[in-house]
């Protein structure tokens, strides 16, 4: 990570989840900062045990990073301007389990794809509860903010 990490605060009122992690603010500049941002957290369709939210302003990140994360890891994807509509927006991704691999759309090759790791949560159990709930019960609103500890 390139700059001093800040606290990444995630909460979901429906599930009574409120956890703190850490994140490098640099890749998130212009997309996430102080002040809560409410996002719709959806389940990944291809990437296994991971959820994601579209994050406006997260653009221009060069492709790079890792194809696989550990439970608790937070990644960003800068979007693919040449891709289908669903792929063009930036995303923040929360990995909540070990059955996970980033994959490009199957109709565009279905190959492992690299995402940039920006932080992590230590409370993997809460993140897993959130992820499994989203998979079974559908998208949920979460609040995210990046704050100084």
């Amino acid at each position: 990570m390139g700059s001093a990490p800040l606290t990444l605060r995630l909460s979901c009122a429906v599930l009574d989840v409120a956890i703190d992690g850490t994140a490098d603010p640099e890749p998130l500049r212009g997309a996430l900062g102080p002040g809560r941002q409410t996002l719709s957290l959806m389940h990944a369709k291809r990437d296994g045990q991971a959820c994601f939210a579209y994050l406006d302003g997260l653009t221009g990140l060069p492709e790079g990073g890792e194809t696989r994360g550990r439970p608790g890891d937070v990644f960003v994807f800068g979007g693919d301007p040449s891709g289908p509509r669903r792929e063009r927006s930036g995303q923040i991704v929360l990995v909540y389990g070990p059955d996970h691999l980033f994959v490009s759309p199957f109709d565009r090759g279905g190959r492992p794809r690299r995402y940039r790791r920006v932080g992590s949560f230590e409370d993997v159990a809460s993140l897993a509860r959130l992820g499994e709930h989203v998979w079974r019960h559908g998208a949920r609103e979460i609040d995210l903010e990046l704050v100084r500890a």
Partner: protein, 158 residues
């Protein structure tokens, strides 16, 4: 008149017709037919892309037949994951018989994958062309709104 399937998702007022491919996958069609009716929650795939699936109660698996690794919108496939595949989910008991996975493919961004990668899928049915848009709508709603009860019954003449 050939025997087919009717897939109902009452929560979304959907009834989707499936042509069974008796000539290409006779053993799989017969096994599924014998297992009807199937009433299970439908889950959206989380590693296979544009796929909806149900896990049927165990039956004698038909073996590899009309197997595909590339699937298309409208395909209906069967995969038997052998005992021991947990799918990382405690609600999917697989220790004794394995998982009996019936999957509905609703878009081109799909590839049937198990916990350890791409698997051979028995292609045994096709959603009728005029019902594919309804299938896609149901699948997107399950993705965004959560699992929904699904019922599969047999029909004479799809």
């Amino acid at each position: 008149m050939s025997r087919g399937l009717l897939v109902a998702v009452p929560a979304y007022d959907a009834a989707i017709r499936v042509e069974l491919l008796w000539a290409d996958a006779p053993a799989t069609c017969a096994a599924i037919w014998a297992a009807l009716p199937i009433e299970k929650p439908a889950f959206h795939g989380r590693r296979s892309g544009q796929e909806l699936f149900v896990l049927a109660d165990p039956f004698e698996p038909p073996g590899r037949e009309n197997a595909r690794r590339v699937v298309n919108a409208g395909d209906v496939v069967f995969v038997h994951l052998p005992p021991g595949w947990t799918d990382h989910h405690p609600d999917f008991p697989s220790a004794e018989h394995g998982l009996f996975d019936i999957a509905f493919i609703y878009g081109s961004d799909a590839c049937v994958r198990g916990p350890e990668g791409v698997v051979d899928a028995n292609l045994f049915g096709r959603v009728l062309a005029e019902d594919r848009a309804a299938l896609a709508r149901v699948c997107e709603r399950v993705w965004l709104e959560g699992t929904a009860p699904l019922r599969i019954v047999g029909t004479n003449g799809a």
